[in-house]
Structures are given as structure tokens and as C-alpha cells.
């Protein structure tokens, strides 16, 4: 059975005054199985948000998705879709929730209207039916008094509630895949857990797949089936969650975990990773993590490909070769 979403060699480029063109997303590949969750982890600036936008063809101009990229949703080539066909995917088969619910909701419309708008856009239903569905959705995301809340404006709700509304809107299209871009970053710690629980529950009850984008490894454990770690536009390690947590292999991943790598070679203990993520127009030749890497493999002047480390576990590091 093929995966629900297959992304192959996705490349997003932007024009740059200095370098001509830069590629904040540079050859990203991953699959998401039906009903499973993939977590895309990385620091800010690594290209994970842009990747998710590319899946919905929402890359902001003047950026564009480069040729050679392939995004396939259950056999449909998303990158070739136009107009109505594209709109059939957006919100309907793939839905997205964004980081800041305050700015992602239109401040001058009631939330009920914003939900029913999506329902009407994708389904041919009467106004009463749409309204009833909206109430049901609000209930499903755990908002008390849903019928009353329909008439509320975004600013009248708390941050956690707004995020629930966002989720409700996303679910209105009954999507097969939900992309959650930093869904809890803008929320209080206590609320974060609730939202994640909610997402989990919804995923299971609806059989949705989920792409969870975050910089926080902590929320990944126990919630994602697979994890892919991104750095400087590339996936540098991917593995089933348990595998990754037990055997983090790429020096960057190790650094993220702050633990001692179990690889050969003398290494210092890592706590914060020195340096910062380089911007796309300043990426070094070869391995992009090299400047910050405590190991600096002799072959790293050449870009390492994704090499197998274990079953379903790969990393973009020459160290994988040494293991064998």
C-alpha cells in the first residue's frame, strides 16, 4: 500500500541579490502513511515551514518550487494542479493550521462565519446544515457552549480557544492530511499539552495523517510515528520515533538532545550547539553542519547523501559509513 503523501526531492528557491538564487528547501524527501504522524523537527530558519507551505503550493512570491520536485497525494500530482483542482486539495484533502491563531483568523468576521465559509467552499450544503456542522466541529475540538461561540469574534477568545477554532476550521473540509505548523508555540505550557492531546485524539478518531512541524523535540515523543530532522534546507536524519530517541545519530540531532553520541571518535560533551543556523545564502560547500559540528569528519567537505543507519533510520552524515 503506497503512502498517502509522497514528497520527493522538493526544492524551493528564492531570488537573492548576492547568490542569484537560494534554496531554503533543498532536496527534501519524505513519505507519510495514512493515519500516521510525521514530525518535522528543526530550528527556525531550517526550512520546515516553507516545506509545508510548498505542499499546498502556498510558497510566497517571488519564491517558487523548482522543477524536479515531486509532491504526490494518493497518486495525484499536487504540483501540476491548477485553479479549481488545486482548491479541491487545499482545505479539503490537506488542511493546515498555523502557528499564531490570532493573526491567522480574520479579525473582522465571526468565527462561525469563518467555519461555515470553508464548509460551503467544499461541500454543497444548506446554510442550516453548515451551521449545524460548525457547531459539531466546535464541540469536537472541545469548545464549551459551541452554539453561542459561533457568534464570537476572534479577539474575544483566549489563545487556546482560538487554536481550537483553527483546528475546527481545518477539520471542516474533512481532510486526509493535517499539517500543524508549530501549533503550540504561541500558547501557554499548560494549554500546549491540551492542544496536542486534542490533535492526537482527532487524528485517531478521524483516521487523519498528520505532519507536525516543530522545533521542540519534547512534544514529539509519544505523539509522532516518525521523525525527520531538518537542518539548512535538508533532512539530515529520519527514523521511527522510538529509534531516534534511543539512537540519535547525526551530530546535530545529538546536539538537539544534548546527550553524548555513541559513535566512534573523540567528542566533547555537547550542551548548546555552538553557533547559529547559517542563512541560505551563506551555506558552506559540503556538509552544512560542518562549521558547528564537534566531529568534523574528514570527508565532510563533500555533501553526504542520506545513508542508512538502521532499519528505517537514515542520516546525512559520513559517520554512517564508518559504522559499518
Amino acid at each position: 500500500m503506497s503512502a498517502l503523501l509522497e514528497v520527493h526531492d522538493l526544492r524551493v528557491s528564492f531570488p537573492d541579490r548576492v547568490a542569484g538564487r537560494i534554496h531554503p528547501v533543498d532536496g527534501v524527501s519524505f513519505d507519510i502513511e495514512r493515519g500516521k504522524t510525521l514530525a518535522l523537527v528543526g530550528e527556525s530558519g531550517c526550512g520546515k515551514s516553507l516545506t509545508s507551505l510548498a505542499l499546498l503550493r502556498l510558497v510566497p512570491p517571488p519564491g517558487r518550487i523548482d522543477g524536479g520536485s515531486a509532491v504526490s497525494l494518493d497518486g495525484t500530482d499536487v504540483l501540476a494542479l491548477k485553479g479549481d483542482a488545486l482548491r479541491q486539495v487545499r482545505g479539503r484533502r490537506i488542511a493546515m493550521i498555523f502557528q499564531d491563531p490570532m493573526t491567522s483568523l480574520n479579525p473582522v468576521f465571526r468565527i462561525g462565519d469563518q467555519i461555515t465559509e470553508v464548509i460551503h467552499a467544499h461541500f454543497d450544503v444548506s446554510r442550516q446544515d453548515a451551521r449545524a456542522q460548525a457547531v459539531a466541529l466546535l464541540q469536537e475540538v472541545g469548545i464549551p457552549d459551541p452554539a453561542e461561540r459561533l457568534r464570537a469574534y476572534p479577539h474575544q477568545l483566549s489563545g487556546g480557544m482560538r487554536q481550537r477554532v483553527m483546528i475546527a476550521i481545518a477539520l471542516a473540509g474533512q481532510p486526509e492530511l493535517l499539517i500543524a505548523d508549530e501549533p503550540t508555540t504561541a500558547l501557554d505550557v499548560t494549554v500546549q499539552a491540551q492542544i496536542l492531546e486534542l490533535l492526537d485524539h482527532l487524528r485517531q478518531s478521524r483516521g487523519m495523517a498528520m505532519l507536525l512541524i516543530t522545533h521542540d523535540l519534547g512534544i514529539v515523543a509519544g505523539r509522532a510515528d516518525h521523525v525527520a530532522v531538518m537542518y539548512a534546507g535538508q533532512i539530515i536524519e529520519s527514523a521511527p520515533t522510538a529509534q531516534l530517541f534511543e539512537h540519535p545519530s547525526h551530530p546535530y540531532t545529538v546536539g538537539l538532545f544534548g546527550s553524548v553520541p555513541r559513535l566512534t571518535g573523540p567528542v566533547e560533551r555537547l550542551t548548546p550547539i555552538a553557533g547559529t543556523v547559517p542563512p541560505p545564502n551563506a551555506w558552506p560547500e559540503g556538509c552544512r553542519f560542518r562549521p558547528r559540528c564537534p566531529i568534523k569528519h574528514p570527508k565532510s567537505a563533500t555533501m553526504p547523501p542520506l545513508l542508512a543507519v538502521g532499519p528505517g533510520h537514515a542520516m546525512r552524515c559520513w559517520l554512517a559509513e564508518d559504522e559499518r
Binding site: 487545499r90 488542511a95 498555523f98 493573526t103 480574520n106 470553508v118 467552499a121 474575544q156
Partner: protein, 322 residues
């Protein structure tokens, strides 16, 4: 509500300052207010004395000022030198015509201007945007009286499609129905309204364009797209609605400015409003009348600003006090 009271208080102070300034500006200019009166019928020194006393011009400046203020507060701006009637009455008589013209111009400017401005933002960087932009700049650069003359000449005289002067057809029978009268006024309204609107539309467009550009970049626009909504809906329902409302609140500001700007247009089209009255008052050096109109317009400006602020506060659901 205390905020509103504060704003009203500010507005009152501003209005008072404006009136005081207007008074002193006028009195400060050299020249004898009554000098022109002697043009038509030569006046003897004795007659001048009487007139001077009647208009209070023989009093010291401070006395003139206090009597002016006390009169102003009561709505009495003295007697018009040219018409010999109370200024206030003259103003009230002419006010409706100006409001009609001003209101119509505002409507046109707003409807057309907000659409064009938003269009510019949506087609940003393209040739449409630039073309519209240059056209609106050219319109702004056009003297309103010249445009009025040209339109009056072309449309009114050469092509004879619309009347070129006045507000009513003097030949209309006195028993004409309200409908006929209304249509007649409307026909007379078109040219002056179009002239004034053309010259003023640029500013509205500019505001709308910038508000729309801002709105289009907001996260909720992208979020709306991500939900599969059509592009026109995203632009015109979501973004435009947000961009519209800073411009709508400017309504209060625009009306008085339009009335002020109508001085030339009303003169050219002989539209019986305050603008033409002011233009005539200038030629006739009719100070009381001019002062009265100036004070009224200034008050409208201050009032308009207040209305604009209040509208902003009331209309923005975010700011609305629950």
C-alpha cells in the same frame, strides 16, 4: 466613554484656537475692509464713518474680537457687507447645495477610489497599477477650475449633453413635479461632481491601496487561501473588508475638505453653494461673510476629525468596548 469625552474636549479646544487664528489673520492683513465699498457709489467721509461704526470697525481690536466671539457663540456673525443681510442666514441658505455636492463627490470618490485603490494593490507592480497610478496623479495635478471649464465647454456647450451652470433650469415650469425637479437638479449636479471627484480621487486611492497592500500581507489571507477559498474571495471578501475600514473612517475628515475645495468648482459652474459664496465674498471683500464661512468650515473640519476617530473606535470589533 471617558476617552470620547477627552476627544471632544480636545476638539473644542482646537476649534477655539482655529477661530481665534482666523480672526487675527484677517485683521492682521493690511488694507481697509471698507475700501471697496466706495467703488460702486462714491461715499462721503460721513457715510464711511457711519458704515465703519455699523460694522464695529472703529473699535479697538480687542473690542472687535470679544464682540466677534460673543456673536460667534450665539451663531451671529454679523451682517454681510455685500448682501446687507445676516451672514448666518446667508450661510444656512447656501449650505444644502454644498452638502449635496460634497456628499455626492464623497460617494463617487469613495466608491470608485476604494475599488481602484484596492485594484492597484492586487495588481501590484503590474502595468495596470502603474497606469492607474499615473492617471490619478495627473488628475490630482489638474486645477479643478480648469477641468470644470473644459468639461463645461465640451459637455455643456459643444456636445450639449448636460447643463453647464447653476443648479436648476430657470425655465422649468413652476408646477413641475418633484420628480422632474429632482432629475433637473441631478443633471446639473453631474458635471461639478465629476470635476471635483476627479481631482480628489487620488488621495482616497492612495489610502486604499496602502491599506489593501497591508491587508494582503496579513497571515489570515494566506490562511484563507490554505483553506481552499477562491482567490477573488480571499482578496475581496477577506482582505478588502479589512482594508476598507480605515478608509471609511476617513469619511468624516473628507467632507469638510471637499466643501473647502469646492470654492473653484462652484464658481465655475455657478453652483449656489458655500464655495461660490466664499469666492464672491472675496471679490467683494465681504469680511463678515468670509469669516462666517471660514469658521463654519473650520468647525466642520474639527467635527469631521472627531467623527472619524469615533467611527474608527466604533467600527473596529477589536477596539469596541464590550
Amino acid at each position: 466613554m471617558t476617552w470620547l469625552a477627552g476627544r471632544v474636549g480636545q476638539a473644542i479646544i482646537t476649534a477655539v484656537v482655529a477661530v481665534i487664528l482666523a480672526f487675527f489673520v484677517m485683521r492682521a492683513a493690511p488694507g481697509d475692509p471698507l475700501a471697496r465699498l466706495g467703488d460702486e457709489h462714491p461715499l462721503s467721509p460721513r457715510q464711511m464713518e457711519t458704515l465703519r461704526a455699523r460694522y464695529g470697525l472703529d473699535q479697538p481690536l480687542t473690542t472687535q474680537f470679544t464682540s466677534f466671539l460673543s456673536g460667534a457663540v450665539r451663531g451671529d456673525f454679523g451682517t454681510s457687507i455685500e448682501y446687507g443681510r445676516p451672514v448666518t442666514g446667508l450661510i444656512i441658505q447656501r449650505l444644502p447645495a454644498s452638502l449635496l455636492l460634497g456628499g455626492t463627490v464623497l460617494l463617487i470618490t469613495f466608491a470608485l477610489g476604494s475599488w481602484l485603490g484596492a485594484l492597484q494593490a492586487v495588481r501590484s507592480g503590474g502595468r495596470t497599477e502603474q497606469a492607474i497610478g499615473v492617471l490619478s496623479l495627473a488628475a490630482y495635478a489638474t486645477p479643478s477650475f480648469w477641468l470644470g471649464l473644459v468639461l463645461a465647454w465640451l459637455v455643456g456647450i459643444v456636445w450639449r449633453v448636460l447643463p453647464a451652470a447653476g443648479m436648476h433650469d430657470p425655465l422649468l415650469p413652476s408646477d413641475a413635479t418633484f420628480g422632474t425637479r429632482a432629475v433637473d437638479v441631478l443633471r446639473h449636479l453631474i458635471l461639478p461632481a465629476v470635476t471635483l471627484a476627479a481631482v480628489n480621487i487620488g488621495a482616497t486611492m492612495r489610502h486604499q491601496r496602502s491599506a489593501m497592500l497591508h491587508a494582503l500581507r496579513e497571515p489570515y489571507v494566506q490562511a484563507a487561501r490554505a483553506r481552499g477559498l477562491t482567490e477573488p474571495r480571499v482578496r475581496w471578501h477577506h482582505a478588502f473588508r479589512n482594508a476598507l475600514f480605515p478608509v471609511v473612517t476617513l469619511f468624516g475628515l473628507w467632507l469638510p475638505l471637499v466643501v473647502a475645495g469646492s470654492v473653484f468648482v462652484e464658481k465655475v459652474f455657478a453652483w449656489p453653494g458655500l464655495g461660490a459664496l466664499a469666492a464672491d465674498a472675496v471679490s467683494a471683500r465681504d469680511y463678515p461673510l468670509l469669516m462666517g464661512i471660514t469658521v463654519l468650515v473650520s468647525l466642520m473640519v474639527v467635527g469631521g476629525a472627531l467623527v472619524a476617530d469615533a467611527a474608527y473606535a466604533l467600527l473596529d470589533p477589536r477596539v469596541r468596548r464590550a
